[in-house]
C-alpha cells in the first residue's frame, strides 16, 4: 500500500470514529427523551389510578412526541447506514449535492456544538465518479478548518457548481480567514486525500473563501 493510501486510510479511520461517536451521542439523546416521556406517561397514569383526573390531551401529546423521536432516531440510523455503505466501492458515481447533504446531516451535531450553521447552495444536479468516503472525509476536514474562520453570524456557506474540469466547491463566509494561521492546513492527511481524489485546493484570504476543485472522474486505485 502506498504512503498516499496509508495516510488517506488513517485520516479515514479518524473521520469514521468522529462521525460514529457523534451519531451514537445523538441516538442516546433520542433514548433519553423517549425514557423521560415514557416515565412521564407512567407517572400520569399512576396519578389517574390514585383518583386524580387524567389529562387525555397531555397523554396524546406525549405519545405524539414519542413518535417524533422515533422518526428522528430512524432518520439518524438511516444516515448512519448510508455512511457505512460509502466504502462499498473504491470509485462510484455520486450526485455531489446529495453527498454534501448527507455529510451535513451526519456532522450537524458537531457543527451545532461550535455554534455554526452550515448552508449548502447548489441547485443543479452534479454527477462525478469518485471515492465517496474519501470525499466526505476531505469535505469534513475543510469544514472543520473553515468553521474556525466564519464571521459573526456563524454561517458557513458551501456553494457547488459544475466547472470545466469537473466541479468546484467554494466555502464562503470566512471573515476571520486572514487571522487564522493556514500553514498547517492542508496537513499530510488532507494532502493524501487530495491526491487520492485528484483534487485541487486553495485558501484565499483576500476573497475570504476556500476552493476545492474535483475532476469529473477518477480511476480506481
Amino acid at each position: 500500500m502506498s504512503f498516499k493510501h496509508n495516510a488517506a486510510g488513517r485520516s479515514g479511520l479518524q473521520f469514521f470514529g468522529k462521525i460514529t461517536a457523534s451519531i451514537s451521542h445523538e441516538i442516546r439523546n433520542v433514548f433519553a427523551v423517549l425514557n423521560e416521556n415514557a416515565g412521564l406517561m407512567e407517572d400520569l397514569i399512576l396519578l389517574g389510578e390514585k383518583g386524580m383526573p387524567v389529562d387525555q390531551a397531555r397523554l396524546k401529546a406525549l405519545a405524539q412526541s414519542m413518535g417524533q423521536q422515533i422518526r428522528r432516531g430512524d432518520g439518524i440510523v438511516e444516515n448512519m447506514n448510508r455512511f457505512a455503505h460509502e466504502v462499498d466501492h473504491p470509485v462510484k458515481e455520486i450526485e455531489l449535492n446529495e453527498t454534501l447533504g448527507l455529510l451535513i446531516a451526519l456532522s450537524g451535531r458537531l457543527a451545532k456544538m461550535r455554534g455554526v450553521t452550515i448552508d449548502p447552495v447548489g441547485e443543479e444536479e452534479i454527477m462525478i465518479a469518485t471515492n465517496a468516503f474519501f470525499l466526505e472525509n476531505l469535505l469534513w476536514s475543510i469544514m472543520e478548518f473553515a468553521m474556525e474562520a466564519v464571521g459573526k453570524d456563524k454561517t458557513l456557506t458551501i456553494v457547488s457548481h459544475a466547472s470545466e474540469r469537473g466541479v468546484q466547491i467554494r466555502f464562503q463566509g470566512l471573515e476571520n480567514l486572514p487571522q487564522i494561521p493556514s500553514d498547517g492546513f492542508p496537513s499530510a492527511l488532507e494532502q493524501a486525500l487530495l491526491a487520492s481524489l485528484e483534487a485541487d485546493f486553495s485558501i484565499n484570504s483576500s476573497s475570504e473563501d476556500i476552493i476545492l476543485t474535483l475532476p469529473k472522474k477518477i480511476e480506481a486505485a
Binding site: 461517536a21 451514537s24 451521542h25 442516546r28 439523546n29 433514548f31 433519553a32 427523551v33 423517549l34 425514557n35 423521560e36 416521556n37 416515565g39 412521564l40 407517572d43 396519578l47 406525549l62 412526541s65 423521536q69 451545532k112 456544538m113 461550535r114 455554534g115
Partner: protein, 147 residues
Amino acid sequence: MKVRVLLVDDEKEFVEALAERLSMRDYDVTVSLNGEDAINKLTKYNFDVVILDVRMPGMDGTDVLREMKNIKPLTEVIMLTGHATVESAIDGMRRGAYDYLMKPCKTEDLVDKINKAHKKKAEHEQRIRDAKVKEIIDSPRAALRES
C-alpha cells in the same frame, strides 16, 4: 421547604419532561437550555442542586461548573453524560461536581443523587452557620463585622 433544582441541558424535550417528573415529586424545578442562561439564573437565584449536561453548544458543562463554583460554591452539581463523555464527567467531579449519571437514567437513581447532594449542601451550610455563631460567641464584636 422544597429542594430547588436547576436543570441545564440543550435537549428541550428531554429537559421539559424531566422537569415535569421532578415537579410531581415535589421538587422546585427551573430549566435552562444553555450554559449562559444557567449562569444568569445562578447569579440571580439560589439553587440547592444543579443537574448539568456535560456536552452543550457554546458554554459546555465543564465551563458552567467552573463558573458556578466561583459564584455559588455551595450549590451541588450532578453531571449528566453520554458514554463517550464519562471522562468529562469524572473530570467534573475532580473540579467539584458531586456525582454523575449516564443518559438515559432511571428516575429513582437521579432522585436518590439529588437528595444526597441536597443533604450534603444542607450539612455544609449548617456547619458554616455553627462556625459563625461560635465566632460571635467567642468575640461579640464579630457580629458588628457581619453587618
